[in-house]
């Protein structure tokens, strides 16, 4: 199949959507499909062969943070050219409610269009203001995919209709086969955390407070923290003994992340909220790490309601410290969790996920003809279909 994929966020900035698009494109290429990805990027950025740059991304304030995106007539013209030259059998856009290339592509195209909704944090007020503008464009989407139950619920509440659930994919074997790193181990056990340090909702402060309690009872335990952010700032309130027991790795590469998850005795996800899926939990399961996570809806689902991982009340430092101590003391329980997790996470493996996505592509493309440029000439007509 000839598949056109549109990524709304700047290709050179790491992020969940970008990683998902990259992995998806690579899996599809491996299976012999003809894939082209349109993404915001400078013309001189080094890019994989399948990526077509749509021009430099512009940082704009959107939904409470800064997004690096493409919009405006010049980007719209590039999108049209890409659509014309691509002659795709199916067009797969990501995050179509973001002011970027995805909505432009949806606007400019007609035919088999598939859209994936990743986020569960659409702001309803801004969404309501903008919805009349989007409606005619989003109506062209023939198949809607949500990556999680939370993303699906957001979609249903704000836009209406329904979506099929296809989770984000993980290369399970890359995590299962990674080599542990002895230098990161603590003699009385190793605890891992991955996530942005400076983002409150990722919950690092909760974990650090719990770890301090734990350390009093279990000296020699090590906490390894990976992720973007200022380690000095995070370490500010720590006593010297706690500081000495924490290793800050900074931002890590994908292989390093896999090795970290293979090294730890317990992986902790202390997030406070705002999570739509929790891909890092799946990665931890894939690496065979026992997972201890806050009981957010999204995490509860990924951990099969606590069967393949342990849940604790969100934000509860004492409960986290107690659960962490129990897990570190209970080797058989950890082995059991590791086995159950490794089996469960297969459903998130790219080999499964891509089959589901191809089934969606085939369903919408069957007898539909190729993706064409929407011929309506004036902008006004194009919007008010």
């Amino acid at each position: 199949m000839r598949i056109g994929i549109v990524c709304p966020y700047s290709w050179d900035v790491p992020g969940g959507v970008q990683f998902h698009v990259r992995d998806l494109a690579e899996v599809l290429v491996d299976r012999g499909h003809d894939v082209s990805v349109l993404a915001p990027a400078d013309d001189d950025t080094p890019l994989p062969a399948y990526v077509v740059p749509a021009g430099r991304a512009v940082p704009v304030p959107y939904n409470g943070s800064v997004a690096r995106v493409n919009f405006g007539p010049i980007s719209a013209a590039r999108v049209r050219r890409w659509l014309r030259e691509g002659e795709f059998d199916v067009l797969h856009i990501h995050e179509p409610a973001t002011p970027s290339l995805s909505v432009l592509a949806c606007w400019a195209a007609t035919g088999p269009i598939v859209a994936t909704f990743h986020t569960s944090t659409l702001r309803s007020r801004a969404m309501l203001a903008a919805y009349p503008i989007l409606e005619p464009t989003l109506e062209k989407i023939r198949a809607r995919i949500a990556v999680s139950e939370d993303a699906r619920r957001t979609l249903v509440e704000h836009i209406g209709g329904d979506a099929v659930l296809i989770p984000n994919g993980v290369f399970v074997d890359r995590f299962a086969g990674a080599t542990p790193e002895p230098a990161w181990r603590g003699e009385a056990g190793t605890v891992g955390f991955i996530g942005r340090m400076d983002e409150e909702r990722k919950g690092l402060p909760t974990l650090l407070a719990a770890f301090e309690l734990l350390l009093a009872a279990r000296p020699g335990t090590r906490l390894v923290v990976a992720g973007r952010g200022d380690a000095e700032e995070a370490a500010e309130d720590m006593s010297a003994s706690v500081r000495a027991a924490v290793t800050f790795l900074g931002e890590v590469s994908e292989p390093e992340k896999a090795r970290l998850l293979r090294t730890v005795d317990v992986y902790v996800a202390p997030n406070l909220g705002g999570e739509s899926f929790g891909i890092v939990l799946v990665e931890a399961l894939a690496a065979g790490a026992p997972v201890l996570a806050s009981d957010l809806d999204a995490f509860r689902r990924v951990l099969d309601d606590g069967r393949v991982g342990v849940l604790f009340p969100t934000g509860d430092v004492t409960a986290l410290a107690a659960a962490l101590g129990d897990l570190l003391d209970d080797e058989p329980r950890r082995q059991e969790l590791s086995r159950a997790g490794s089996a469960w996470c297969r459903r998130y493996d790219w080999s499964t996920v891509v089959e589901d996505l191809l089934a969606v592509y085939e369903t919408v493309a069957a007898g539909a003809g190729a993706v064409r440029e929407d011929e309506r000439r004036t902008w006004r007509e194009r919007l008010r279909l």
């Binding site: 704009v60 959107y62 007539p73 002011p99 909505v103 606007w107 309501l128 903008a130 503008i133």
Partner: protein, 186 residues
């Protein structure tokens, strides 16, 4: 002799306090006037932005960006307003600077009228904020005076706040003589 001097002194002090109170009252009125003028211009800018966003003249990505920012600006409470208005300014810059959008809109009669109005609104926001902050600075000078402080002439009136935001009109929008050039402002 001494009582005549005393009365004269009292008269002078009384007159000075009366004069200061009147001056303070006048300048407070000027601040409030300037504040409501700025409020009106900000609301107008947000409304025109929203109108443009839903006009169907923009591509949907730009529409979404502008509509989102305009909506946030209109809904923001006092504490968040400066940030929300600055974000609208940034969104307008992103939409209109070096995007080719103003030129495309100029080709359409309705579009031409709307961006003319938006350019005017942006310029007036810049002016109104300048006038407000100028009035606030004046009010602060008067309120710092000893006579005003000791005689508590300001009563319980709050310390007048300035309005701090990024209000630079997008250059892409201001070209083509759409609004008076803002070069009069330093």
């Amino acid at each position: 002799m001494t009582w005549t001097l005393g009365v004269a002194l009292l008269l002078v002090v009384g007159w000075y306090l009366f004069f200061s109170a009147t001056r303070l009252d006048r300048i407070h009125a000027r601040v409030e006037g300037a504040r409501s003028a700025l409020d009106a211009q900000l609301v107008r800018r947000a409304s025109v932005s929203l109108q443009l966003a839903v006009s169907g003249l923009l591509d949907p990505a730009t529409s979404l960006l502008v509509a989102g920012a305009a909506h946030e600006a209109r809904e923001a409470d006092d504490a968040d307003r400066e940030l929300a208005e600055s974000n609208l300014t940034r969104a307008l810059h992103a939409a209109f600077d070096e995007s080719g959008l103003p030129e495309a809109l100029d080709a359409d009669p309705a579009g031409h009228a709307l961006i003319g109005e938006l350019a005017g609104a942006c310029l007036r926001v810049e002016l109104a904020r300048r006038f407000l902050n100028d009035a606030v600075r004046g009010a602060r000078v008067v309120r710092r005076k000893r006579a005003v402080r000791y005689a508590r002439l300001a009563g319980h009136a709050p310390w007048p706040p300035t309005f701090e935001m990024d209000d630079t009109p997008p250059p892409g929008l201001m070209r083509g003589g759409r609004a008076a050039p803002s070069t009069v402002l330093p």
